[in-house]
């Protein structure tokens, strides 16, 4: 058990690469999760019975089981049915499906929170149901759910640390690589500091975002 600063400066290029990977995965899965969640939530509010059951099952299953289990499910399971994708794509897929379920639940909540009058008013203008959803309800609901969404999305960066379990070189993995080589936990500490810095940046950014899009009533 040692702690040396020299190691960190030696491994700095590796850390930088890992940081880029972490950020890339987070950005990709955030965008995909937002899209997936929006689509699922909108489809749920259209009120098609059989579709609703399927979507509810999806949301409930992915919200109530650990991301690590889902990750292993895809990582070990997909090659078995003949689908071979890189661990990067597996990671993005698992995080997207997981966070998409949370995002769907948040947006569905705010769609339900939009007063019924809006639906009726739009209907009286002769808009079809999908048009109402797309042009009237969804923009309002999305704006209302921004505070909850930013909270959820700040968790994505933490989720990416799990991808070290499927042999993807990102921050946590670099930390454990250093530990395995030199029995030195400096790598873990440095990775932790990087994560905390990213979190603080995202947190402040989301604070600005919330302020900008606050609904004035």
């Amino acid at each position: 058990m040692d702690f040396s600063y020299r190691l960190i400066s030696e491994w700095l290029p590796m850390f930088f690469e890992a940081l880029i990977t972490t950020l890339k995965i987070s950005a990709l899965s955030t965008v995909f999760a937002l899209c997936l969640g929006s689509i699922v939530a909108s489809a749920m509010s259209l009120g098609n019975r059989p579709l609703n059951y399927i979507l509810q099952a999806y949301v409930s299953i992915f919200r109530n089981s650990p991301l690590l289990v889902q990750l292993f499910f895809f990582f070990y399971g997909l090659p078995f049915i003949g689908i071979r994708i890189s661990s990067f794509m597996t990671g993005v897929m698992a995080i997207t499906l997981n966070e998409g379920a949370f995002v769907a639940e948040i947006i569905r909540g705010s769609i339900n929170g939009i007063p019924k009058n809006d639906w009726e008013a739009a209907e009286s203008l002769g808009l079809s149901r999908s048009q109402i959803l797309r042009k009237v309800i969804f923009p309002q609901a999305f704006r209302n759910s921004i505070p909850a969404l930013t909270g959820q999305i700040s968790l994505v960066i933490k989720d990416t640390s799990l991808l070290s379990m499927i042999m993807l070189v990102e921050l946590t993995r670099v930390g454990s690589m250093i530990y395995n080589k030199y029995f030195d936990f400096a790598g873990f500490i440095f990775a932790a500091v990087l994560y905390i810095v990213i979190f603080i940046v995202i947190n402040n950014f989301s604070f600005v975002l919330e302020k900008k899009y606050r609904v004035k009533r």
């Binding site: 109530n64 650990p66 292993f72 499910f73 070990y76 799990l162 070290s164 379990m165 530990y179 994560y195």
Partner: protein, 218 residues
């Protein structure tokens, strides 16, 4: 030797028992620490305030997996079981501190003043008057946090606790039946989380009923 479905179930059962052993301990410790820190935080003591804030930010920013590795490898805690309990408790008490602080701040100021006018000490005001009242407010958020805690117990297989996911990965190397194994593990977590969710809904409702029955007085 052929490994049957029954063997898989039996092995997973052993792991599941270990998970169930760890869970209540983590829940209890994180609740106790979180409540104490939350009570201190609501007092807004100058220096302590910033220390607890820093602790909360670190816990919110760091991934639980990394925290586990830091504790297990850096602090040389050689018993994985204790390391797991310590890490999960520390991690989640950061969040529970915020939840409890929010609950305390939602209690009307009059309560504090009334208790003070009865001559109670600060400690007694907290423990006898304020804390018992916050649970109704706090239950939904607390249940949400506990569900995250339950899901985080899947991570402790990394530091070698022989819980359900650890057994699952061992089985995976023997049998190569990923779908069965990980589906069963997922179902196990799903059942626990779902039960907890239902309990929290029931508890919230029954507490609400109690308040209504007592004529609006909490």
């Amino acid at each position: 030797m052929e490994i049957t479905f029954l063997d898989i179930l039996n092995t997973l059962k052993k792991g599941a028992l270990e998970t169930i052993k760890i869970l209540p301990l983590c829940m209890l410790f994180s609740l106790i620490t979180g409540t104490i820190l939350g009570a201190i935080q609501s007092k807004k003591i100058p220096v302590v305030k910033y220390l607890i804030n820093a602790y909360i930010i670190v816990m919110r920013g760091i991934p639980p997996l990394l925290l586990m590795m830091v504790f297990f490898f850096a602090l040389n805690i050689n018993v994985p079981f204790f390391a797991a309990i310590i890490v999960l408790s520390i991690y989640h008490s950061g969040y529970i501190t915020e939840i409890v602080r929010g609950g305390i701040e939602a209690i009307p100021k009059g309560q504090f003043e009334a208790a003070e006018s009865l001559g109670l000490s600060n400690f007694k005001i907290m423990t006898k008057v304020i804390i018992p009242q916050i649970w109704y407010q706090v239950i939904p958020a607390l249940a949400g946090q506990y569900i995250i805690l339950i899901k985080d117990t899947a991570l402790i297989s990394v530091i070698g606790v022989r819980e359900i996911l650890w057994s699952g990965r061992q089985l995976m190397q023997l049998t190569f039946k990923p779908f069965q194994i990980f589906f069963l593990i997922g179902t196990f977590f799903y059942l626990i989380c779902f039960t907890l969710q239902q309990i929290s809904i029931w508890a919230e409702k029954s507490l609400k009923q109690k308040i209504v029955d007592s004529g609006g007085r909490t």
